[in-house]
């Protein structure tokens, strides 16, 4: 209990996005876009020219910024940096994998569901019955 991390209350936290152009444009229409004085944005538009390193850097930046509470990432992009996403375990910002236009959502790849699915495995059920 003494080592439990506290969640800082925030009344104007941002939603960050790592997604394709249409998804980002759509959410920017909904008013989530933020550009600070250094011209840092809370979104990364991923296209065919975006490198995995750029996606990794954006993910690391968004998950360490204190003003971001939720990071939306298209699942097909999350698959490119699956190791990073699966190793992330902080409560805030929350990472939400979303479907994209050309890649439907696959629950088998979702990092949260992967973490909890072992509860349904035969081994865990058998060990619980002992």
């Amino acid at each position: 209990m003494a080592n439990r991390a506290q969640i800082p209350n925030s009344n104007s936290a941002l939603i960050a996005m790592i997604a394709d152009e249409d998804t980002v444009v759509g959410f920017l229409l909904a008013g989530v876009g933020n550009v600070d004085l250094r011209r840092n944005t809370n979104y990364l538009i991923v296209d065919s020219k975006t490198t995995v390193k750029q996606i990794e850097d954006a993910f690391k930046e968004f998950t360490t910024r204190e003003d971001i509470a939720v990071v939306l990432i298209s699942q097909y992009i999350a698959n490119m940096i699956r190791f990073l996403v699966d190793n992330y375990n902080k409560p805030v910002p929350a990472i939400l994998e979303i479907p994209s236009k050309d890649h439907p959502y696959d629950p088998a790849h979702d990092s949260i569901l992967s973490r909890v699915k072992y509860l349904f495995s035969a081994e865990s059920v058998a060990s619980g019955r002992r």
Binding site: L14, I15, A30, V32
Partner: protein, 209 residues
């Protein structure tokens, strides 16, 4: 001895009930997460379709990321993050969506209303009917001001793509707003799921020892 023997099964039943409650909470939150995900997929598909229709009618050069505002500006839609006070033994954030500055608007109007009450205390001595009418009209005025603020926010966001925009672009905006609401619910369901999962996992681990 008989009392102790009677108490032991009761304690075990209590622990079993707690474990079942934790598992049920976990299953419920996971079900909610999947349901919201399905709803999100449907809403996003609608939004993408409307965006494509807007691009078709307005032209691809008018609906693209080159036109995005890269000057310094704050997000109009933000999140309120609090810690769930009902669960003192864990870290569980709660997310609330503030669309177009809505929560800040409500706070501003609340302060404005209280300052008006201080300026006109004699209103309290009038008849109850008149008071309720004035309260209703002030509430209506407050909601109209919030609606105006929301409409201004929406118009400003759309203005990036020009003065006259396709109705499909406006529809896309509403669809993505709905998607945002679903995403915030998903974030809360995710928090609940992880909280319940941690409790179940911990009890499974204690049982194995």
């Amino acid at each position: 001895m008989e009392v102790a023997d009677h108490k032991a099964p009761t304690l075990e039943n209590g622990q079993l009930a707690d474990e079942n409650a934790d598992v049920l909470q976990f299953m419920d939150s996971m079900d909610a997460y999947f349901t919201l995900l399905h709803s999100l997929s449907s809403t996003l598909r609608q939004g993408w379709l409307e965006l494509a229709s807007a691009r078709h009618s307005m032209g691809a050069y008018r609906v693209n990321t080159v036109l995005l505002d890269h000057t310094s500006h704050s997000a109009a839609t933000t999140l309120l993050v609090t810690q769930d006070e009902g669960k003192v033994d864990s870290v569980e954030p709660r997310f609330t969506l503030c669309k177009w500055g809505s929560s800040s608007n409500e706070k501003f109007l609340g302060e404005k209303q209280s300052s008006q009450d201080q300026l006109h205390p004699q209103l309290r001595h009038r008849g109850s009917t008149q008071l309720s009418e004035e309260k209703t009209s002030s509430e209506n005025k407050a909601s109209c001001e919030i609606d105006d603020q929301v409409q201004k926010g929406r118009s400003k966001s759309l203005s990036v793509f020009g003065t006259l925009v396709s109705p499909k672009l406006r529809s896309a905006q509403l669809s993505f707003e709905t998607a945002l609401e679903t995403l915030v619910e998903m974030a809360n369901a995710r928090s609940e799921m992880l909280y319940a999962f941690d409790k179940v996992d911990k009890k499974l681990g204690d049982g194995k020892e």
